[in-house]
């Protein structure tokens, strides 16, 4: 199964080094590290070169294996003897609706949320990157935040983690907010999303101020934070087919994107972006003051951008597949050069590459079927490796034969994807593979020796 790593051209590497060092110094970090998957917080430490591990936050399936959620660690460095293999499985108890996870800015801890149980599991990934341990469990997220339910995105801010929520403890609907924790998992503050009744100083630009939440990204150089909106507990936990047939439930999806002041955490503008805008991906280029989001139900690409007058705007800039067929765009990933956007459409199992050189006119240039269903993608900073997983939500995944659960690596040569390996999560009785985060020894000045015991390495 072992494949050769794609050797990188030396000059490419130095260009990347240069840009990253430049970028890192702009945001004021001492770190000399660089290169990373492309959708992370700019405040975060970067992986040097090849990632060693991918941590897959995995949903337990009732009646399969030990039936509980787990953090699955895969070895992905082609130089390693264990390449393409699972090297660690850490069961955490319960089916929490494992969903998203995020690393602290120093990348020492991985926060992984349960959309159902409201637990946040904090894993130590630095002591031994190949063998994460459970450091702490936050059980009182709802109590501490004053009623937020469904911890979703875990987003690194300096010394802190911002956690967006999806729902609330009153009606299990979509009104919610976000909360800040220290890197140790101590609660700092709750910020509720703007609603019509209390816009919290924001301007309602369109027809909607629904207070729903989902993803968050920051553009520190513009002092901006952007959030999107999905749906409440009753919908994201409900059987997908049942929900599609429930006309009341289908009215309860988010139609907003909010632009916030990053420093004061105050909402500035509420944009109407109909049809459940999910992931937000911001451009990296220092003059590219824009972010993309895609709407799950209406299958559109929206650009959230700063115009020449310095005002933030939201614009529908393109369609994904045939919106009348509801392909259900889910995870997206921007390339490091801001020229490409990968978009996964869950229902047809395809990944689609959009040329976004002109952010106002994305064009689909490539598509490839990854499996019978597909959700998440994580690509390496150089864009040459793209990892895919299958699960969307425990009750939304396909059923029967079509419920493939996998982790797949593809390489990308700029024109086409080539399959490297697949790990079948059902065959191994692990469950539903969801979000991926990268780990590397280089982050912690460590390198495994031949016996697998780690040695400290001075740079």
């Amino acid at each position: 199964m072992k494949k050769k790593a794609i050797s990188k051209a030396k000059w490419m590497q130095s260009i990347i080094t240069f840009t990253c060092v430049l970028f890192v110094s702009v945001v004021g970090f001492q770190s000399t590290a660089m290169a990373d998957e492309t959708c992370m917080s700019p405040y975060m430490a970067k992986i040097v070169g090849q990632e060693d591990y991918v941590y897959v936050w995995t949903l337990g399936v009732e009646g399969m294996g030990d039936g509980q959620d787990k953090l699955v660690t895969l070895s992905v460095n082609p130089e390693a003897d264990t390449y393409g293999k699972i090297v660690n499985v850490l069961s955490v108890g319960g089916r929490n609706e494992a969903h998203h996870s995020g690393l602290t800015d120093d990348r020492r801890y991985l926060f992984a949320g349960g959309l159902d149980s409201n637990k946040i599991f904090i894993f130590d990934v630095h002591t031994n990157p190949g063998k994460p341990t459970l450091h702490k469990v936050i059980t009182d997220f709802v109590e501490k935040t004053g009623g937020m339910v469904g911890p979703h995105t875990m987003y690194a801010l300096p010394g802190r983690i911002m956690v967006t929520a999806l729902s609330n403890n009153v009606d299990h609907g979509g009104r919610t907010g976000m909360a800040e924790f220290t890197n140790e998992g101590d609660f700092i503050a709750a910020h509720w999303n703007p609603t019509d009744e209390d816009l919290r100083g924001a301007e309602k630009v369109g027809n909607a101020a629904d207070g729903y939440g989902y993803d968050i990204r920051a553009l520190p150089r513009r002092n901006v934070m952007i959030t999107s909106s999905f749906t409440g507990w009753s919908n994201y936990m409900m059987d997908f087919g049942q929900m599609l047939g429930d006309a009341e439930a289908m009215k309860r999806f988010g139609n907003t994107v909010v632009v916030w002041d990053l420093h004061t955490r105050k909402p500035k503008k509420v944009f109407e972006v109909p049809g459940a805008p999910l992931e937000i991906r911001c451009a990296w280029g220092s003059n590219n003051n824009y972010c993309f989001t895609t709407t799950a139900l209406t299958s559109k690409i929206w650009l959230i951008y700063e115009d020449e007058a310095g005002e933030w705007q939201a614009k529908d800039v393109g369609e994904i597949g045939d919106p009348s067929k509801v392909p259900l765009p889910v995870d997206i990933s921007i390339t490091a050069d801001d020229k490409g956007l990968w978009v996964q459409t869950f229902l047809d199992g395809k990944t689609r590459f959009f040329d976004i050189s002109d952010p106002f006119a994305p064009k689909q240039t490539y598509e490839h079927e990854i499996g019978s269903q597909v959700n998440m993608i994580s690509q390496s900073w150089d864009g040459k490796r793209a990892y895919f997983t299958s699960s969307l939500l425990g009750s939304w995944d396909k059923t029967g034969e079509a419920d493939e659960q996998y982790f797949k690596l593809f390489t990308w040569n700029g024109k086409k994807l080539s399959h490297e390996f697949t790990v079948d999560f059902y065959e191994l009785k692990l469950g539903r593979a969801h979000q991926m985060r990268f780990g590397a020894y280089s982050l912690y000045s460590q390198k495994p020796n031949s016996s697998g015991v780690m040695l400290s390495q001075t740079k």
């Binding site: 929490n96 059980t139 339910v149 403890n169 009153v170 509720w192 009215k251 309860r252 999806f253 229902l347």
Partner: protein, 450 residues
């Protein structure tokens, strides 16, 4: 029903509902205009979901979202609604061995809103019986429980459950005290593994220390006392003194509109609704406490499925999804044969209990499976004679009502919202919501979790 019909029905409901809230307000309050304004603001929280979706069918839909931070409660003296039930209700039946006391009601209320009383600390009774949504859930047709497991039925309202002679849509339970253990233990509701699990958890939560002993003459939490406390709270949620009651029983001529009076005549005449939704001489519960087959359950079990389903994607945006696609993301749906599932008597197929119609304006979507979204849709269902089947109730037949007549009956049903709804809901808002804290039992709170 066409798109525009449905839209109109929605608007009618909204307008009338708002009117009802308005009536309640003016009748309860005759103070300064500033005070009236804050009362109106507050009232918006009390009479419907805070995530307001009226008009969502239209591309011009505008949110009027209420803020959860402004969902503020006010405790009420609930015992008054037991000792002195609102106009239009008979005496409240109270079991001899479970008199309603202040301590029990306050304990029962605390239990009702405690999300820790489920296997994974996420489900209280109130998550399915949401106070401002008529103590039901306006936002989904059928209930969803722990881990998102599907229930096959719509959560009924808790108003006036003190008067139920048979409990649940299929009438399978007989007392409220017993009823509570069904949701506690059902895998698709609160999913507790055993009775003892619930009792032990309550004992281990510090806030409950001494509360049971105080309410039950020294008895701690037991299967019995938990049921008694919850029932005591639910027995106070009696709601009437509606515009209809004031007109009909209170003889206030102007308490309702002419349309409501016409609707009342139709309800008891041409539409024959009162054959099952009874109105007595000196009170009205709008139920005969019997079970009937209207054909709705038959349709769900036996009806032919279509090729596509119309799905709403955003305000004013729809798609016709291929049912094969929907099937690919559907887990098997449970069948519902109604009363038959209790008696095994084939004559009882698709029979469901007649629900009360009090506060029905607040409890959409309707029927045992939440399949009808507006009262206007319910009227059209009855007007066409339900759905014919071999065990259809002989009381259900085509009615020949005109559009205007159907609207009149809807207006009548809209006049059944009790005057104390605001008081009961505000009181519920004041109840503490039990969410797990560091002091509560959980394996993850142990010192060394590794």
């Amino acid at each position: 029903m066409t798109f525009s019909q449905r839209h109109i029905a929605y608007v009618i409901n909204a307008v009338i509902l708002f009117g009802v809230a308005g009536i309640v307000l003016t009748s309860e309050n005759s103070h300064s205009s500033a005070e009236t304004k804050t009362r109106v603001e507050e009232s918006k929280h009390l009479y419907g979901p805070g995530d307001v979706k009226e008009g969502y069918d239209s591309p011009d839909y505008t949110t009027k979202t209420l803020d959860l931070q402004k969902r503020i409660g006010k405790e009420a003296d609930l015992l008054q609604f037991v000792s002195n039930p609102p106009l239009g209700l008979p005496d409240v039946p109270v079991p001899e061995d479970n008199p309603v006391t202040k301590e029990k009601v306050s304990l029962g209320r605390k239990l009702f809103f405690d999300r820790r009383l489920s296997i994974n600390d996420t489900f209280s009774c109130a998550i399915c019986h949401i106070p401002e949504q008529g103590f039901t859930n306006n936002e989904i047709q059928t209930a969803v429980g722990v881990e998102g497991r599907s229930g096959k039925r719509n959560a009924p309202m808790i108003y006036n459950v003190a008067y139920l002679e048979i409990i649940f849509h299929d009438g399978r339970e007989s007392t409220l005290e017993q009823q509570v253990w069904a949701p506690f233990l059902a895998r698709n509701e609160m999913a507790n593994p055993s009775i003892g699990y619930v009792i032990n958890k309550i004992k281990a939560i510090p806030e409950y220390k001494g509360l049971f002993e105080q309410a039950f003459h020294g008895r701690g939490p037991t299967m019995e006392t938990v049921g008694m406390a919850l029932s005591a709270y639910q027995r106070t949620l009696n709601s009437a003194d509606s515009p209809f009651d004031r007109w009909h029983f209170g003889k206030q001529e102007d308490a309702v509109s002419e349309q409501v009076k016409r609707g009342y005549e139709l309800f008891n005449g041409k539409a024959t609704c009162n054959a099952c939704h009874l109105i007595h001489d000196d009170y009205a519960l709008f139920t005969d406490n019997q079970l009937h087959n209207t054909g709705l359950g038959y349709l769900a079990s036996m009806g032919v499925t279509t090729k596509t389903t119309r799905v709403q994607l955003a305000p004013g945006v729809y798609a016709d999804l291929d049912n094969e696609v929907i099937k690919s993301v559907s887990r098997p749906k449970e069948n519902d044969v109604g009363r038959y599932e209790v008696t095994q008597n084939p004559n009882d197929r698709w029979k469901f209990r007649t629900p009360t119609l009090r506060n029905v304006a607040l409890t959409a979507p309707y029927m045992h499976d939440g399949s009808l979204h507006t009262l206007r849709q319910v009227m059209e269902f009855y007007n066409q004679g339900g759905v014919p089947n071999e065990v259809l109730s002989p009381l259900i037949k085509p009615l020949g009502l005109t559009d205007q007549e159907m609207d009149d009956v809807v207006a009548f049903m809209m006049s059944l919202t009790g005057s104390n709804v605001g008081t009961l809901v505000a009181d519920a808002f004041a109840a503490p919501i039990g969410d797990i804290s560091k002091d509560d039992p959980n394996w993850a709170h142990e010192k060394n979790i590794k």
